[in-house]
């Protein structure tokens, strides 16, 4: 489904600040995989997502999505197939536009030939029914500016928008980290429902080790720009949080150094 082959990326090449963020990284994600990705600060998790999403071009290696080599495809073109959510709930929506305008905007990617006279009532009904699925009451606020919504509401809306036309891959970069615990749970639950309903191949970076094990079918651990652990199936089902941390220590010869790590099961 999504294959990364020998990816290398060095930032600030040729300067004293040069930093190799990805070291010959190769990994294959299967259709329908829900992969949680964990690792220390600066391990290169976000960099992998940026490479897949096309925020920059990689120095060497290939990225193949569903049989198509997208290594040199510009970011906006990849976006047809790749949905992304970031930690910052403000990144995915336009604050000065209304909820329905934001939705109509991303809906363009599947529906280029929409009416030139504003949003049709058919589209509006579709948006409303989509918003209803979130269960946040946003369906009654189609004409509110998105800037007036709370962080959690905005993130839920972004999730909805990113998946409105089912993407081939969904990239979630700590998308609940900036939310309060109750809202984070709610957004995580919505994520699971949407991913399941669309059978979307999903990669999720998280700092919550227990939810990394609890959610999805596969867990990948990164360190220093490489994948150091990739578990699924029985091995993963039996894994406990302390065992996982121990395994990390063994593989990387350091402890998991993460200022935002969450070990509790809340």
């Amino acid at each position: 489904m999504l294959e990364l082959k020998n990816i290398n990326k060095t930032f600030n090449k040729g300067t004293p600040n040069a930093k190799q963020a990805l070291h010959d990284l190769s990994i294959h994600f299967r259709p329908g995989d829900f992969v949680s990705i964990i690792g220390s600060n600066g391990a290169g998790k976000s960099t992998v997502f940026n490479a897949i999403g096309g925020s920059f071009l990689v120095d060497s290696g290939h990225i193949v999505l569903d049989g198509q080599d997208i290594t040199f495809m510009p970011e906006y073109k990849r976006a047809v197939h790749i949905g992304r959510l970031f930690q910052d709930p403000l990144r995915g929506t336009a604050p000065n536009m209304t909820i329905e305008e934001n939705m109509a905007m991303v809906y363009l990617r599947s529906n280029k030939a929409r009416s030139i006279f504003g949003i049709s009532s058919k589209e509006r009904d579709f948006f409303r029914s989509k918003l209803q699925e979130l269960g946040l009451g946003l369906e009654d606020r189609l004409k509110s500016k998105v800037g007036l919504l709370s962080g959690g509401q905005r993130q839920a809306l972004t999730l909805l928008m990113a998946t409105m036309t089912t993407p081939k891959v969904l990239l979630l970069d700590e998308h609940t980290a900036a939310l309060d615990p109750a809202t984070a749970d709610k957004v995580l639950e919505l994520t699971q429902n949407i991913v399941k309903a669309g059978n979307i191949t999903t990669l999720m970076i998280t700092h919550n080790i227990s939810s990394a094990l609890a959610l999805g079918n596969r867990t990948v651990m990164m360190n220093n720009g490489s994948v150091i652990l990739d578990i699924s199936g029985d091995e993963r089902d039996r894994m406990t949080v302390p065992e996982l941390l121990e395994l990390f220590k063994e593989k990387s010869h350091t402890t998991l150094d993460d200022d935002r790590i969450l070990l509790t099961n809340d």
């Binding site: 976006a79 047809v80 336009a94 536009m97 905007m105 991303v106 363009l108 030139i116 006279f117 504003g118």
Partner: protein, 297 residues
């Protein structure tokens, strides 16, 4: 102020409101300070004057629209594909336009259009004489407002609006923000050039310096309009452009009838724009002062 003077003021207000609308698109919607406007306005004057001299006043408006949008495209290409800073991109185009405008005007700094058939003389042929200009201008401006309004609610319009609001969202909607910037600047400058075209035929001459300072004048009108009408929906902002521009022309008319030198008006515009744009920063400073004083007690 006499009634004729007042009517003339309104007519000019309508003409210049198009500059404010163009700036609304670039400055407010795209969030780009587009200095192409100074050159683009004169470009509209020049193309309109040349066509009018040749006996084709309406063609003049059409040519101005086309020339203006080309100027917008050049500025957009400079800042998207060539990565020139937006302000500099506008300055480059504006500078180039000075020579191009002179070329269009046959290397004359001033082109009089006396005794030429214009869109206004055409309108005077079938409209009540005293009101023909204002009716014609109102119809044209209304059409532009309507077109911009419809455009900004269309799919492409949404993408253009999102470009100034959150370019990430544009990319993630699989639209190239370079294209939306180009479309936006193209339309904005077409409208500005149309304004110049209407003015040239209205005042019966085109002058190479007409556009100088037009960005600041347009911004002043835009900002005054926002202050009075508010910054709600799109329609509200567009109406604000009309109101702001009329008020600006009114201020000029009053200044001319009083003893003030009309040439001082650009200074006044500059102060209006500087103050209104820096208002949030000034307010913050004042509030901090207030807090400090309160804490000192």
């Amino acid at each position: 102020m006499t009634l004729t003077l007042f009517q003339g003021t309104l007519e000019q207000g309508l003409i210049y409101s198009l500059v404010a609308i163009g700036l609304f698109l670039s400055f407010r919607i795209l969030d780009i300070a587009d200095l192409t406007v100074d050159g683009g306005f004169t470009l509209g004057c020049a193309t309109s004057a040349i066509a009018t001299l040749a006996g084709h006043p309406f063609l003049g408006l059409g040519l101005a629209l086309i020339a203006g949008s080309l100027a917008g495209v050049v500025t957009a290409l400079l800042q998207t594909k060539m990565k020139v800073q937006p302000i500099l991109a506008g300055i480059i185009t504006m500078t180039a336009l000075y020579s191009i405008n002179l070329m269009i005007m046959d290397n004359r700094a001033n082109l009089p259009l006396l005794k030429c058939e214009t869109i206004y003389s055409w309108a005077a042929g079938f409209l009540p004489e005293d009101y023909s200009k204002i009716i014609l201008l109102a119809v044209i401006v209304l059409l532009v407002v309507l077109a911009v309004f419809i455009f900004l609610r269309s799919g492409t319009g949404l993408a253009v609006r999102a470009t100034g609001d959150n370019p990430d969202l544009v990319r993630s909607s699989s639209i190239n923000p370079h294209n939306t910037i180009t479309i936006g600047l193209c339309i904005a400058n077409a409208i500005v050039a149309l304004s110049g075209a209407l003015l040239a035929q209205y005042q019966l001459f085109a002058e190479i310096t007409t556009g100088t300072g037009m960005v600041v004048i347009g911004l002043a009108s835009l900002i005054m309009g926002e202050a009075i009408i508010g910054r709600g929906g799109i329609l509200r902002c567009l109406i604000g452009c009309l109101v702001g521009s009329a008020i600006y022309r009114l201020i000029i008319a009053i200044a001319i009838t009083s003893s003030m030198q009309p040439s001082n008006l650009k200074l006044v515009s500059a102060i209006i724009v500087a103050l209104s744009i820096s208002w949030p920063a000034i307010k913050e400073k004042l509030e901090i002062q207030k807090l400090k004083r309160a804490a000192g007690k």
